[in-house]
Amino acid sequence: MPFLTWCQWLQNTPLSTGIRQSDLLFPLIEGSHILALSLSVGLIMILDLRFLGIAFANEPVSKIMKQIMPWSLVGFTLMFGTGILLFMSQAEKAFGNTFFRIKFLLLLLAGLNALYYQMRFYPKMREWDVAVKSPAGVRICAVLSLVFWIGVIACGRTMAYEI
């Protein structure tokens, strides 16, 4: 089944239709999506700031990372859940929306960036754990992370203009 056809089917399910037609449900889900940014992207940004040596610089990176990650995962679960519901309710429009496509691409890039950090730098973290500024490669990942997430937020906002 072509993806577009599947989107059309998806947005006509009872759940999707219920969300789309409800005065309260869509704003509640969308508002949760936006405010959960704090628990997800917000915490990741604090971690990025640590890599750059401009927040919590007196603490080892590992200490900050260990305490942020579990909560950030809770945040991203909320983002994912609300995101899926939002997509379902307007699947066809979202799929065809240029900014949504860019948003998704940036989400992928943010994920790949995190994976790259995990595989390339995390194994040797002990060597630079207490340094105020992490190694150059790590800092590049941190900057890219900030750029990608800011891009995701901006695309999310701009999506509404085409929809």
Partner: protein, 159 residues
Amino acid sequence: MSLESFFQWCYQSPALGVIRDSTYAIPIIQSFHLVGLTILLGTTVMLNLRLLGIGMRQLPLSEVARQVWPWTFGALLLNILSGVLVFLPDPTRYANSGPFQLKMALLLMAILYHFTIFRKVTRAEPPTVGPLRNAVVAFFSLTLWFSVGWAGRAIAFFK
């Protein structure tokens, strides 16, 4: 100058007109506002998690408070600036909006609270209050700030 004549000036101002008529100016400014919100609420959530004793427990409360402070403050400034830039090109729309009025009232309370009671409790070294009072302090912080967020979202959906 009365409020009404100031609003009239806003609608006549060429500079504000550029923002108002541009397709992307407002979404770009609002994107700054959302990024600011992410950091403002993110740092506040982090600090409140520590205050509640359910997160960031390896760090002293006062240290978390001190470290996030410049970022919370910077994000607040960013949001005030971006908020003003969204408001000025279309002032009567927002001035007449119930949710907007509520948001401003809540914002004022949130800021006052954050700079007084919340700051005092989170900076105290060693912490001067026990877990129950910490929970109350955290509850008000989170409720006030997230209410500002919800009121902001409501502007587009309700009168």
